[in-house]
Symmetry: C2
Subunit: 251 residues, 2 copies
């Protein structure tokens, strides 16, 4: 049967989600637990997409196939008992045999956390991006609007992106929320290119500092060239928050 | 001149505050930075007291002597530029030549953070102690009162304690605050024995679970024996919050 798992992870101590040689990754940790549970039979998991080194997840999703038949509640306990304490399964459900965590994902939500102040909060150093410069909330709210809707995001994705074909994506929601000196950037879209969230939020922060305006961003879009846009923000503040699917995937 | 420094640290990656062979400690990190700043002349720092492996600080204090004479604001910047990102100096002031961070401390405040729920929050795993059992706020508020005032705390300190002389200490404040499913235990006293906060809060949690009552705790005090009291809570939730001095220490 096919199982869909929702997991959280603190990416601080990992080289990213996807398996790579000579580096500890989220995928590898999970597959090695599953393979052990299947008495050495290699189990491959298929996620909604990779996350980078140091990026976290509140609701990453993957699926895998198993011939073990115990209740999904037991799966959750068994996996959590064996996974390291920075990876946690929060849901396991049985799905239709043709469900695919990446292909069937309709929308993804990312959140990026920024804290503004004179001194960084050392206890959040792996979980927020720290900014000394003052940030104008109203300017950032305006800047969010510039990215809403359907655009070619070539300028706002890593030049190292390996995506073939179109770089047109649709953002359904781009907004910023404030709690005291913490800013949370919420982005929902039908797909995200490599580094896209970290580059867009960087531009919104620049807008909040008065460094870029709407005309600048229009030029950036038109250029279709990564070099026209500022730096990629660090991974610490980034969370894959939720992956959305149709309701009828459950078996 | 003598300088008093207030520091914060995330103790997660350290074997504790105090220098020990073959282990990374807070004191060692700071002394090695200071020694480098003094061109290799060994600089010893003197703290208000040690903290254990995995214990954090929001307001630990130490003093040291220096013959370098630059403004205290520059000291703060220079130290933070060289210290690792889990140790941070938040204040440097010049004090009288006879000030001593441990001997002159009038009172200390510790806080212990507990989160109650079905699943641990992996992002706080180094910063709070997680409890699955329900905790009765009213019972815990009552239990706090049992520890207020002057007592012989022998039963509530590690049997490995190396303190010579009296184990009588005075607690000026013992209370619990609640924010959603997080409980914060605040303890202020003229001194704390080894593991004393983690043992006392453990008993208060047991009271909150209905496992111990006031008569039990009176027996524990009377026994003057560590074995009459439950387990020591783990270090993750513990913060040395503030060390209090007289106002007239400044030069």
């Amino acid at each position: 049967m096919r199982l869909k798992c929702t997991i959280q992870y603190d990416g601080s101590n990992y080289a990213g989600y996807q398996i790579q040689p000579n580096a500890k990754t989220i995928q590898e940790e999970i597959e090695s637990v599953l393979t052990r549970m299947h008495k050495g039979k290699m189990i491959r998991i298929h996620s909604s997409g990779r996350t980078d080194r140091g990026v976290h997840a509140i609701g990453q999703v993957f699926h895998f196939d198993t011939d073990l038949s115990f209740p999904t509640a037991n799966w959750l306990k068994a996996l959590n008992a064996q996974l390291p304490d920075d990876i946690q399964v929060i849901e396991v459900i049985e799905v239709e045999a043709d469900f695919h965590a990446r292909i069937d994902a309709k929308m993804k939500e990312y959140r990026y956390f920024v804290e503004q102040g004179d001194v960084p909060n050392i206890f959040k150093r792996h979980l927020v991006h720290f900014e000394r410069d003052l940030l104008d909330m109203k300017k950032m709210e305006e800047a969010c609007q510039w990215f809403m809707g359907t655009h070619d995001f070539t300028s706002f994705s890593s030049a190292r992106s390996t995506v073939k074909g179109t770089k047109v994506r649709t953002l359904f929601d781009v907004r910023v929320e404030r709690q005291a000196n913490q800013f949370v950037f919420v982005l929902k879209g039908d797909g995200f290119l490599y580094n896209m969230v970290r580059i867009i939020v960087g531009v919104i922060l620049d807008a909040g500092k008065g460094k870029v305006n709407e005309a600048d961003v229009k030029e950036m879009f038109a250029a279709k060239n990564r070099e026209f846009v500022g730096a990629t923000l660090p991974p610490e503040g980034l969370f894959l928050w939720e992956v959305f699917y149709d309701e009828n995937i459950k078996k």
